[in-house]
């Protein structure tokens, strides 16, 4: 399928949804609201920021009170956003969010009313560099990532189109696209079982609390928390009350950050995750031990955004390699 037909699809989607897609501006590839579909980047490169904002905003009102009256939003009327051009790694992260927030009506409303369009132009050129966990060819992963529509771009710039849901099929047909392959989502875990590297890393990271690797990194880590903000799988949150005008109080959910001092602080001042070393361990442990134990999938999708934003250049792959080596 040629690009101009994909453009028709984007125009059709833009009529129903606010489209958020990777847009190249200068050297930066940024996911943002798109008014002109010609600006959409189809390289399937990993954008500098993530799509998580669309489904778990950095702050969102859950409900509010006006004086004594509770005001609950009609979640069925939440305006859907289209996450357009999500690469495979970000779709894996979305798959994890779908598991974590499976009982969260606010998240589900955004998912159900929104649209997810994935894209791949094959494995990235620097494929080896990105490899923390096994990343197979597109055909092998499509059944294990969530999407409504998936666009596979070949070297000639032509597209093969897949549908991953009834909603996706409806949109495709509405856009006049009848030639597409239907993919049945079979859960995040591949047929051959959970990721082998993940299984190997689980006990290593879990038992690493006193590993000198953490002391070493803690010397340079500034606990700025940028890695968590940039990470497509970090989802910690706080709930807080915010007073507004006219005696209104909003219950807000805002992104939490385990590198921030108040993350684990209880009344009286005690912090259970206190030192930089403890914070580093907590972050890695969440991704490589707690999430795998809870959901059987890694809490990291190898996107390397944490490394790219880290002001002191902490490389997640090197950290894991060091932990493995110390363990041998």
């Amino acid at each position: 399928m040629l690009k101009n037909e994909i453009d028709k699809l984007a125009i059709y989607i833009a009529k129903q949804y606010d489209i958020y897609a990777p847009v190249l501006s200068k050297d930066e590839l940024i996911v943002k609201g798109v008014n002109n579909i010609d600006n959409i980047d189809y390289s399937s490169r990993i954008p500098d920021n993530t799509f998580k904002q669309l489904f778990l905003p950095d702050q969102e009102e859950l409900f509010s009170w006006k004086k004594d009256k509770l005001i609950k939003p009609d979640l069925s009327k939440v305006k859907g956003k289209a996450a357009y051009g999500m690469n495979v790694l970000d779709l894996k992260a979305l798959g994890l969010f779908d598991l974590v927030f499976t009982n969260d009506p606010y998240y589900l409303a955004k998912r159900e009313n929104g649209l997810v369009v994935g894209i791949s132009s094959g494995a990235p050129a620097d494929y080896e560099e990105y490899k923390i966990f096994s990343m197979d060819k597109v055909e092998n992963v499509l059944e294990h990532i969530p999407f409504d529509i998936f666009l596979e771009k070949n070297k000639e710039g032509e597209f093969k189109v897949y549908s991953g849901s009834a909603k996706g099929r409806k949109v495709l047909r509405g856009a006049g696209i009848d030639v597409f392959e239907n993919i049945q989502f079979a859960g995040l875990i591949q047929e051959e079982g959970p990721d082998q590297r993940m299984l190997k890393l689980m006990p290593i990271v879990k038992g690493s609390e006193d590993n000198p690797v953490w002391d070493e990194i803690a010397k340079i880590c500034t606990a700025c928390g940028k890695c968590s903000t940039a990470c497509p799988t970090c989802f910690c949150f706080d709930l807080l009350d915010e007073a507004g005008a006219d005696n209104t109080v909003s219950k807000k959910r805002v992104w939490g950050n385990c590198f921030y001092p108040e993350f684990s602080q209880v009344a009286g001042g005690k912090k259970f995750v206190d030192t930089v070393k403890q914070k580093l361990f907590f972050w890695y442990e969440h991704k490589f031990s707690r999430t795998p134990a809870e959901y059987k999938v890694p809490g990291c999708v190898s996107c390397m955004r944490c490394f790219k934003v880290c002001p002191v250049g902490i490389n997640i792959i090197e950290v894991l390699n060091k932990l493995e080596k110390k363990n041998d």
Binding site: L62, K72, K206, L239, R253, E285
Partner: protein, 281 residues
């Protein structure tokens, strides 16, 4: 779909000071139908809040068999929200979510039915619910019940006014106060100067017992060690933990300790849980 973050409104029907810096709040749901159906297990907690000031995790410290009539929570003034709570008045509306987590083990299923409740500092609050339950269920009639409370200062020892009732219901009471200025007694129990482990000497302790304990973070290791030295089996020692919490359902990550969420998998744990997760304490 149930909104796990949406609280119920509860009315403060009674406030009683239980120490110089703590108060017991008796709460009822505004919606009496909700109250009638309400149930919890002793040792579970609720997220209690003030509209505009946020929520905090508080143990429900009333007897569970009164759950269809009211709930009680103890508030110690330590931070922003608890200061606001302590300043509340009868008739004020609070928000209430829960119960969350697992509670203390069922008393009727304990391998060792005699029981020792150990409470350090504001840990008396969560223990108080179990004591009320023991009294209202007449559990003390068939089994030995000991309560050991420790406090930094005598003024901060909670529930002194209820201790006479505990003793009258055959509960053996031991009290230690770290900074004790003069010899004193509460409910005829001589107050021992020092930390709570001083109450754990072999003669006074019924070793054929199950232990429930709550206290400040620094209390758990020395008390568990002392109990082990006295011959208590790990599986007979339970403890309840405090952490910062927002969701109460094991999502927000604030209370995570390795692979465990204090809110969902706790707050009550057994000493055997420390084998897989020594960082709990």
């Amino acid at each position: 779909m149930i909104d796990p973050y949406l609280p119920q409104r509860v009315k403060i029907v009674k406030i009683k000071a239980v120490a110089d810096d703590a108060a017991l709040f008796t709460l009822q749901f505004e919606d009496s139908k909700v109250q009638k159906k309400y149930a919890f297990i002793q040792g579970q907690f609720a997220m209690v809040g003030i509209i505009g000031a946020g929520e905090c995790a508080l143990d429900i410290c009333s007897p569970s068999d009164k759950s269809s009539k009211y709930m009680q929570v103890t508030v110690k003034q330590v931070g922003f929200l608890t200061k606001k709570l302590v300043d509340s008045k009868v008739g004020d509306i609070l928000t209430f979510r829960g119960p969350f987590g697992n509670g203390w083990p069922n008393l009727n299923k304990l391998a060792k039915p005699n029981i020792i409740l150990i409470a350090g500092g504001s840990g008396v609050a969560p223990i108080r619910g179990e004591i009320e339950h023991i009294i209202s269920s007449k559990y003390f009639k068939e089994n030995t019940v000991q309560v050991l409370c420790g406090s930094n200062e005598i003024e901060y020892l909670m529930y002194q006014d209820e201790m006479a009732n505990w003793v009258n219901n055959d509960i053996r009471l031991g009290i230690s106060v770290d900074r004790l200025k003069r010899a004193t007694a509460v409910a005829n129990a001589k107050v021992v100067k020092g930390v709570i482990t001083q109450l754990l000497n072999g003669d006074n302790i019924d070793k054929d017992s199950t232990v429930f304990m709550v206290g400040p973070p620094a209390m758990y290791k020395p008390v568990i060690k002392k109990l082990q030295e006295l011959g208590f089996a790990d599986e007979d020692i339970y403890f309840s933990l405090e952490r910062r919490m927002y969701c109460g359902i094991g999502v927000c990550q604030h209370c995570a300790v390795n692979d465990v969420y204090i809110c969902k998998d706790g707050p009550v744990f057994n000493v055997n849980d420390l084998i897989n997760n020594p960082d709990l304490i």
